[in-house]
């Protein structure tokens, strides 16, 4: 394993910003190896990917002889943000995942994403691991742009996630890592799972198995071990129902995340601690799986409380 600095910049006061990549490859030189890149920490408040990459690096260290491709790991793209609990790039307040493709002549966040994109370029597959944010808890899921789904969907199905959400092309999302790399010819998948600022160990292990499964299928590792790849449900066979707060207050959930629920089941209440009033009771508009649930309890009118994947004949 070799650690390389893909970007560095001298900060104003006695510190160097350094973005690092670790590379695992066969000890014997081989030709035409496939390459996979695993990226995380684009948002400084999302840490689930750090754990997955740790698990993967640990597995690769123990199984060096099984490596039959190039595996590049980028655990902390927004290194300053991660160490300061800052979602965007500190000081500039820029969402790095809206700053691609960046450029050498741009401001510092633009230089960082440019360096990343240029380094990942040429990979056969890239996986961009996101937690949700600090507000929502998500089941392990893959987000795929319809524009690239013909090539990315088969890989997504190998990743041992519970849900694959295929969404329409949106112009603003052209500034993301996944769009940029897909356009460069790297089949890029976005994973969303867990919650911001925390680790969900079981999800980390679940995704590790998926990544190993995908790498085995692609011949990047040679292993006799059978890695689990559960059958995900696809957004196209049902409907995603959004439940936004009808009023501001303190959201108290009644159900557990991932619960299978029935239509009109109570999801939670929005209350006012000052006077003890229940301001709103939230009911499910559809039966299905509660795959997103609000984690941060303070809500404003419009705050997302939950998402249900249900039957499309009950579209809200």
């Amino acid at each position: 394993m070799q650690i390389t600095e893909i970007f560095s910049s001298q900060l104003p006061v006695g510190e160097t910003l350094s973005i690092k990549r670790s590379r695992f490859e066969p000890t014997q030189k081989k030709e035409n190896l496939k390459r996979i890149s695993i990226v995380s920490g684009t948002h400084g408040d999302e840490l689930e990917g750090q754990y997955v990459i740790y698990l993967l690096a640990s597995w690769l260290n123990k199984n060096q002889s099984l490596i039959n491709g190039i595996i590049d790991l980028y655990p902390a793209v927004n290194a300053l943000g991660i160490d300061s609990i800052t979602r965007g790039f500190p000081l500039y307040e820029v969402d790095l995942n809206r700053a691609f493709p960046g450029g050498k002549e741009e401001y510092l966040p633009g230089q960082v994403v440019y360096a990343l994109a240029q380094d990942v370029k040429g990979s056969d597959i890239a996986i961009d691991i996101h937690s949700s944010n600090i507000f929502l808890r998500e089941i392990p899921q893959i987000r795929i742009n319809k524009e690239f789904s013909e090539f990315t969907l088969p890989h997504a199905k190998e990743l041992n996630c519970d849900f694959i959400w295929i969404h329409d092309a949106v112009t603003v999302l052209e500034a993301t890592f996944s769009h940029t790399l897909n356009q460069m010819g790297t089949r890029t998948l976005v994973v969303e799972m867990g919650v911001g600022m925390r680790l969900t160990k079981e999800y980390g292990v679940q995704l590790l198995n998926g990544i190993l499964n995908l790498m085995k299928k692609e011949g990047i590792i040679l292993s006799d071990e059978v890695f689990e790849a559960r059958e995900p449900f696809l957004s196209e066979v049902g409907e995603v129902f959004y439940i936004n707060a009808p009023t501001s207050g303190l959201f108290v959930p009644e159900l557990n995340h991932c619960a299978v629920i029935s239509k009109n089941e109570k999801i939670g209440t929005i209350v006012n601690p000052l006077d003890g009033a229940i301001l709103e009771t939230i009911y499910a508009p559809s039966g299905g799986i509660l795959f997103t649930l609000r984690e941060y309890p303070i809500v404003y009118e419009g705050s997302l409380l939950a998402r249900i994947f249900g039957n499309n004949d009950e579209k809200n």
């Binding site: 910049s9 001298q10 900060l11 104003p12 006061v13 006695g14 979602r87 965007g88 000081l91 500039y92 307040e93 809206r98 002549e105 401001y107 510092l108 230089q111 944010n133 507000f135 112009t171 603003v172 999302l173 052209e174 500034a175 959004y242 936004n244 009023t247 501001s248 207050g249 303190l250 006012n272 601690p273 303070i298 809500v299 404003y300 009118e301 419009g302 705050s303 997302l304």
Partner: protein, 311 residues
Amino acid sequence: MKKIEILRINSLNRAPLIVEGYLFEGSNPDAPTVAVVGAMEGKTILPLYTASKLVDFLKNSMSDSQNILGNILVIPSINHYALNINERFWPLDKTNLNTMFPGYAEGETTQRIAKRLFDAISGYTHGIILENREDLSTCFPYVRLFQSGYEDIKNAKKFGYKIVHHKELRPTDTVSLQYNWQLWGTKAYSVMCPNETQIDMNSSNEVLEGIISFLNKNKIIKYKVLNGYESTVVTKEDIEIVKTPKSGIFIPTKQIGSHVIKDETIGKIIHAIEGEVIHRILAPSNGVIACHYKNGLIFENAVAFRIIKNG
């Protein structure tokens, strides 16, 4: 003048956010109309101040209300919650209102705010958005127009600022107010204000006079006003970006608006610990300094100056 409620959002622990607009009804129903949007972000002091002074001007300085010809709607502040606690974006989820347009009535909080605001300002002939630059620099006042296919450069010159920046459209600009306002038929202009934490009377007067000039020249008001500059339209090719190869303490030695000649020292970088000058920033060409970095500490390869090239 009518004070109208544009939107209201309740909060669990803060007083409700009530956004109000000031509607000055024109005397001529055939005259063009304008809506002016002030502070959408916190930390945008000059947009807030300019919009509030525009309300004051229209209310107290127009001696004859008949001289207001077309309807004028001024909304000085949208994001009081951020302004009051020195946050830049929506304080709970840190989303940027100016990336939420045209908004969505059933969406997240800032999408709803954008939708209600957008509904209130739709249908005007002209739309003026008072903004700060999103990067860490300050500038002289200018108009920014996206190269969207809907822009009106001729009218943008009527503000009389030194430049109209005709800027390439990025994917993220497609969710901005300016772009969506134009898409829906309003001639929208972003007036870029100097990025200041305190009010500088010279620059704030320049911004306000530009808006009054625009209103007068478009026959929305009748008010004798001194002409400003004959604006120069500037594109990417006209702008020289001057970066610093060293990080440290940044001291600009030439002010915004200064004419500079090639190889003249315009700034310096001081070693943050040892105090010596570690880099002198030289003008790469003749021109006028339009922007410079505004913080005391500067990153390596950060943009220190933007110079509009002469010659």
